[in-house]
Symmetry: C2
């Protein structure tokens, strides 16, 4: 019986193929089997980032993840994808699972890891997060010296967000999208609008970076708000 | 008069040259002038990460940063380094400034940006942070779905650390080094030892990854503690 293959969880960075690491690029270029999440029946952002590196003959495992409020369909999709990946690994093939951003920082790879890490060898290749890519685009320090960074999904309820932002220094609000109007009000209430910057699609050609006060009324899914620290006297 | 050059602030990732991005690698390979911080009179970790990519003929600007408690000598070193970089930029040469990890996430590049961004065009290339590299090595999710991440330098006073850790989910304690004994006690007091993992030198050949309870008594400068979230029912 063949030795089982290795599952590689590969971070691709925020969208610009130039922000793929050399290790990730080498794994993709050498891959016999790749796996990636797709919007059910639609495109895969992860695959689009890596497209130019994927070998022509590679076998591709699509994981169609429905974006429903009920989590059961998405979990079933990851169950099915994991079963298909497990078959490949058991047959001795390595599998390269593509993941936007970093695999373990709000990354889709965690759903595969949770299902497969007990049975197979897993190696994770970290990637550039959208958080630091947005900071780079905005030219805003996230933290220096003894600075504190708090990362909050905008999907959390108002009360939780208020509690976590209270007294915080740098705040990163991820997963902004349709929550922009609510977050805008909340930041205004907390007196943080002046320190808040809106960044959308960092690393993509149509990126945007504006003070929150000038942000459009509607935000795309790939957008965030950075609440910068007051200026740092040590810099 | 020549048009001024561009200052590139290039993140190199946590130490493994494989975790350099393709964009960063291309900029370094094409650089006429590179700049990097060194321990005063000693080695440069940033330069060592990128060493194989640096062109033989490149001019190198060393910024000797003294590790003193008083910040004035380090600030004087960045003043002098910035002046040397400014001369190059004014003469029309681009300068590639190397930075461990990500330039804006506890990165040294911020000291150059603060001095030069008003006068010159600056482009920042984000890098893989030690935070996600440590998570990858440990196989520990930092955050999924609506998870919150709090990043705290271990250099902060006990009271501040306690306040910030109270009720937090994932906690990342950066800049551990000589603070390990104090942080170990603090986590024990807060009942967090069981969720705490020690990771040292992620991305280097001599990396270590252990439950905190099994960590050595003394930690190297490049080490951190990840306090993982309770298991996530959605994974």
């Amino acid at each position: 019986m063949a030795e089982a293959g290795v599952l590689y969880g590969v971070g691709l960075g925020p969208g610009d193929p130039g922000l793929i690491t050399r290790r990730a690029a080498a794994l993709i270029e050498g891959a016999g089997v790749i796996a990636y999440p797709c919007l059910a029946g639609g495109a895969s952002f992860a695959r689009s980032i890596a497209a130019e590196l994927i070998p022509a003959g590679a076998r591709e495992i699509r994981i169609d993840v429905p974006m429903t409020r009920d989590r059961a369909p998405a979990q079933a999709a990851y169950d099915a994808g994991s079963a298909e990946i497990a078959d490949m690994l058991e047959a001795g093939a390595d599998v390269v699972a593509l993941c936007e951003g970093d695999p373990l920082f709000y990354g889709s790879f965690m759903y595969l890891q949770a299902r497969l890490a007990a049975r197979f060898r897993v190696e994770i290749v970290p990637g550039v997060t959208s958080m630091t890519a947005c900071a780079a685009l905005a030219g805003l320090p996230l933290a220096a010296r003894d600075g504190v960074v708090t990362v909050l999904p905008a999907t959390l309820p108002d009360g939780t967000l208020r509690d976590r932002m209270s007294g915080a220094e740098t705040v990163v609000l991820m997963k902004l999208g349709r929550h922009l109007p609510r977050i805008r009000e909340l930041l205004a209430d907390e007196g943080l609008t002046g320190r808040a910057h809106y960044v959308a699609r960092a690393g993509l050609a149509n990126a945007a970076c504006l003070p929150l006060a000038e942000a459009p009324p509607v935000a795309p899914y790939f957008s965030m708000i950075l609440v910068a620290r007051e200026s740092d006297p040590w810099l």
